[in-house]
Subunit: 482 residues, 2 copies
């Protein structure tokens, strides 16, 4: 049994070599001045495998959830990092090795693996007094928002009966309600889906169960004042394939980009299905809103299967250079019988990990923040291709004017997903700060950069120095101080 991680792109270099460091660092060094108005916690989580993969190889998404919390107070920042102590992690630690096989395929696990297969590695969100560590394959784990101690699986006091729970829930800015959903909601390969609306005190207000035509990945969703939209990505699930040791997901180039549109207060009979072009990949939701009976959903769309680790049946995966994901708008007209939708482009450059001013979720809005990639100034590592998730621009995109305001950090720099923090509770939309992790690839260093959203090109007003390398993360969120 090796104790070394494989020398594959999934585990190599400043961005992807596992860190596994649980840490406390008080009062990080700061270059520049951190605005005192930024008070609260930035939580984020990265897949960070405790042990080298049992099968000798693995995908990035299969790492154990390592939560980082950056606590902002009095123009200072402290860092705490803890693993989510999932049943899966604890079983591995007990045995001193990985017990988990193919991603989201329990049939390939060691008999000693935990029954609960989740790594809780996709996002973290403070809600109703706990920090939820979420992954779409299971119910969340709850953690203490201050100590990051793991409290256990969180089924909302028995109210949520689904097997799974999204890692992209959204908070309705008007009510503070948590809007969430499940897919494969009755277990692996089930086409069942569920929509949940939960009150700030944790009370389940409403749930809607329905079925999709097939089980496919529903990674993110979109919410408006009265509706929710579920993008079903053409990555389908086949339990028989899983039993043969195959992957959970398989790309289906002939399937459309499918969408379910549902009134938030409706029921299963109210679901309407829309179909977009085939062989394209619906990315993360920037935002959505409704206007005169029409629902607009904005997201990056990639022209093919961006998840090379979930190939189509014949094994084909497009070469990364052929793929580009730029921002598009889908418009669903509920007054029209037409169930075909075509997205239209909002910008013309490669971007992902879109974020909005959270106070405008589901409402007409103007400001988006994205990671972007300028291919004219790419980082070219000495060996091998550009890393999977590589972004060299941190960008403010104004949807009203179409203008982009970007900061290019340098030739050997890679951003992680940003968050937006309003300058004050009543600041205008988009008036505030953009905060993101920045990896300096060449020297393995990391920083948390803080930019004024009104002038991204000026670069950071503060650089918070992190004395350890931050492995690439997935998502995170801002919890303002109470």
């Amino acid at each position: 049994m090796t104790t070394l991680f494989p020398e594959t792109p999934e585990f190599l270099g400043a961005l992807y070599h596992p860190s596994r460091v649980e840490a406390d660092v008080l009062d990080l060094e700061i270059e520049g001045t951190l605005p005192a108005a930024i008070r609260g916690a930035f939580y984020q989580v990265s897949p960070d495998p405790q042990y080298p993969p049992m099968l000798g190889q693995d995908i990035y998404f299969n790492g154990d959830g390592m939560v980082s919390a950056f606590f902002f107070e009095d123009s200072k920042v402290s860092l705490r990092r803890r693993y989510v102590k999932t049943a899966r992690l604890l079983a591995q630690r007990r045995e001193g090795r990985s017990l988990n096989g193919v991603y989201r395929n329990v049939h390939t696990n060691d008999p000693l693996a935990a029954t609960n297969n989740t790594t809780a590695n996709t996002t973290v969100l403070k809600y109703n007094g706990v920090l939820l560590a979420l992954k779409e394959d299971a119910l969340p784990y709850a953690m203490d928002p201050d100590t990051l101690e793991t409290l256990g699986v969180y089924d909302w006091n028995g109210q949520i009966s689904s097997a799974t729970f999204t890692a992209h829930p959204k908070v309705d800015p008007a009510t503070g309600n948590l809007l969430a959903f499940s897919y494969e909601a009755k277990g692996d390969g089930s086409p069942d889906m569920a929509y949940f609306e939960i009150a700030p005190d944790g009370q389940l207000l409403h749930e809607i169960w329905f079925q999709a035509p097939y089980a496919g990945m529903v990674h993110d969703f979109a919410v408006t004042e009265n509706h929710v939209v579920f993008p079903i990505i053409p990555l389908t699930v086949d339990v028989e394939r899983m039993k043969r040791g195959g992957p959970h997901f398989q790309w289906q180039p002939d399937l459309p980009q499918l969408f379910a549109v549902l009134p938030r207060k409706g029921n299963a009979a109210d679901v309407r299905w829309f179909k977009g072009p085939a062989n394209a990949f619906q990315g993360h939701t920037l935002n959505a809103f409704e206007e005169n009976g029409r629902i607009h959903v904005d997201m990056p769309i990639t022209g093919g299967n961006v998840f090379y680790f979930f190939p189509q049946e014949d094994g084909f995966v497009p070469s990364p250079e052929t793929l580009s994901s730029s921002l598009h708008r889908w418009t669903f007209d509920l007054s029209s019988p037409n169930d075909q939708v075509e997205p239209h482009a909002l910008n013309d450059y490669q971007c992902e990990f879109p974020r909005v001013d959270d106070r405008y979720i589901g409402r007409p809005y103007e400001h988006g923040f994205v990671l972007a990639f300028d291919p004219t100034r790419p980082y070219r590592p000495e060996n091998g291709p550009i890393p999977f998730q590589f972004f060299n621009l941190l960008t403010h995109f104004n949807l009203r004017t179409g203008a982009s305001d970007s900061w290019f950090a340098g030739d050997s720099e890679c951003f992680q997903e940003p968050i937006f923090v309003p300058r004050s509770a009543d600041a205008a939309e988009g008036d505030g700060y953009v905060i993101a992790l920045l990896n300096h690839i060449a020297d393995y260093a990391s920083e948390l950069v803080v930019l004024d959203a009104n002038d991204m090109a000026a670069g950071p007003v503060a650089r918070v120095k992190i004395p350890l390398r931050m492995r690439m993360s997935l998502h995170g969120s801002w919890a303002p101080a109470e």
Copy 2:
């Protein structure tokens, strides 16, 4: 108030930039095979300032003690790092800034600083169930050897009345007794010294108080079966200078290398003083032993003041390139009335941080382990001189044959102090493993390397990968599993 450390050599680069990371990393990656016989804990401590210096500059030795524990079990290694929670550290954390001025000069501290000025940053030793964090300016702090939780100032249940306690105590291999001493034992500038012998159950067995002709630094000492030897380095203390804001220590080029030789069971009247050549610096003790009424003490000696931060009165400090510290033997003949001693050279290359097989402390011995520097293959950083404490060789020196067996790790590599771990409890002297931290300067990475002491040149049998940078440390020790 800046939150950034100064851009001076004391705080710069892979070796000296403060880390400040309290961490837990379970089951570090290991390249090669870690011998299962290595079972126990390697404890070490580095000065690692919690906050940038109050005065805008500082010396390396003034950093707060950050203890690292590498736990070896079943051919695996886990890392834990915690600050010693000294009164000084807690006061700083309360105020959110450094409160301490000139090194070992309380007259320059902020009024809010803790009364106890120690950083406990020089070595760590497990003894009588606690981990002692030691610095020669105060009594030790005790820590839990497993959790590294700080338990508090440790005065040996009130038995040790000295103001200070050495960071180089030694365990007598025959009795298991702890042999220790104090200088400035009645407070800053006092010429009082004390010798202590403590039983494995913590009982003080014997103490001897005596006075030196003047207060000077006594950093390490030497022990034999029946004697102890105290090297008084020509760095003297002047409380009036300290009150004027000056340094604790000042180099005295005209003072001899002074030695007190004392029977372990004797009293103050038994002290004999010996004088060696002036303008040279007694380094760390490799070992000592007695033979026919003569006492041999082996240590590196530097031909001048190696501590550039403690200049002589006119401010002169020798340029580092002019200094060389090679291994010498002092012989004290107790049967002769002659109180002049001249060291003779044991080797001809630059070395420090000598370690012996602990089972041979104070006894005739053959094997030494040192960090050495080969100036023909130096690391040359792009900017500035060679770092203060720079060693590119890890060396086994055979005192009987005079042979040196070294491993050169590479052009951009720097070792930290090694430890020796016997292959088994009854292995021959020097038969075992040499373990040391290795800093890869160019990529800011660190490893714990494990070499077979019988074949150093072959390089490590195992490299334990550390996913964070290890700031340069001072000393450490091995605690075998019980």
